[in-house]
């Protein structure tokens, strides 16, 4: 038997056994293993290896291991940064700081820039009056229907009802 051919075939036997070869090469291995006793024996040994593994009992623990695991599970702590603040708290803090900074920026820089830029656009009186009346009613209704007291009173104060028409 051609030794080179045997070497080539043996290199392919494991892949052949695992079904990884294309049809042409698989046919070549099959043909060679059928006519070469040594390569045929090698292929048979590979198949017996797979069968031995399949027949091997998996190792089994002698007892239920879960209780030993369960008693060591600490309640999950949120991950911490190097300065020790939990990440969720860190996010909340960052949001609060950003909000305060934006408010300060708006009050000190942006609002003054727009303060003295001519008369504000005002709605026609009739619309303005209707809006004020609606706001007043809404605030009073809210006061008796669950809107926070402070918010409702602020709304009443801010939306004085229009003077009654004579």
């Amino acid at each position: 038997m051609n030794a080179k051919r045997c070497d080539e075939t043996r290199e392919l036997l494991a892949d052949f056994d695992a079904g990884l070869l294309d049809e042409r090469r698989a046919d070549e291995v099959t043909a060679h293993a059928a006519e070469c006793e040594a390569c045929g024996a090698e292929l048979a040994a590979l198949k017996r290896t797979a069968a031995l593994l399949d027949a091997t009992e998996p190792a089994r623990p002698s007892r239920d291991l879960w209780p030993g695991v369960a008693q060591k599970l600490a309640p999950r702590q949120p991950s911490r940064t190097w300065w020790g603040i939990p990440r969720p708290a860190q996010m909340r803090l960052a949001l609060q700081v950003a909000t305060i900074v934006l408010l300060i920026l708006a009050l000190t820089v942006i609002l003054p820039l727009h303060w003295d830029q001519g008369p504000a656009v005002s709605l026609p009186h009739a619309v303005d009056d209707d809006a004020a009346l609606f706001g007043h009613w809404y605030a009073q209704a809210s006061l008796t229907s669950g809107l926070g007291n402070v918010q409702a009173l602020s709304l009443i104060a801010a939306t004085q009802p229009p003077e009654a028409a004579p």
Partner: protein, 179 residues
């Protein structure tokens, strides 16, 4: 073998649900134990490593990004812990607590037990990526497709690792497979 919607269970465990983590333990502990046993060849040490692997997994789970690859990630934790124990044992020159086969025992049950122990030791000597697929496919009967899904690798990769693993085991287990 793969539980339905195991990714969701991993997600719940990741969020701190102990019951979900227990479900993961029930699904995966046999494989983890076999991995540890293959490396250590000692049942008591393998049990200890299995428990420590799950405790460590619980602690590290919030940092696991690919929940679909939970099984492979857990395997690596267990294998690392088992190797640490094996190294520590070697440094102390303590032999593994197993009996070597004598070959002259009449009891077939004992012979089979010895043969299985040899197979486990041979599996334990494989590279990790081959060992985990051999254990899952051959010892636990997980189909190739599910092995691939649980480890987050292609089916072709599973087959290739199985081929290389069996090739190595064929030589290590020559007395059992040669006629």
């Amino acid at each position: 073998m793969k539980p339905p919607d195991s990714t969701a269970v991993v997600g719940r465990a990741k969020a701190g649900d102990v019951q979900a983590f227990e479900a993961l333990f029930r699904d995966h502990h046999a494989r983890v134990y076999n991995l540890a046993y293959s490396i250590l060849a000692d049942r008591t040490e393998a049990e200890d490593v299995t428990q420590r692997a799950f405790v460590k997994a619980w602690e590290e789970l919030p940092r696991l990004r690919e929940v679909a690859a939970f099984a492979g990630w857990l395997n690596r934790i267990a294998a690392n812990l088992a190797r640490d124990v094996a190294r520590s044992r070697a440094a102390r020159k303590v032999p593994a607590n197993h009996s070597e086969p004598t070959g002259d025992k009449a009891d077939q049950g004992l012979l089979a037990e010895e043969r299985d122990a040899q197979v486990h030791r041979a599996i334990g000597s494989l590279p990790e990526h081959q060992r985990e697929v051999v254990i899952m496919y051959h010892l636990q009967g997980v189909p190739v497709q599910e092995v691939a899904e649980q480890l987050g690798i292609a089916q072709g990769t599973v087959l290739s690792r199985l081929a290389r693993g069996r090739e190595a085991l064929r030589r290590k287990l020559a007395p059992y497979v040669e006629q």
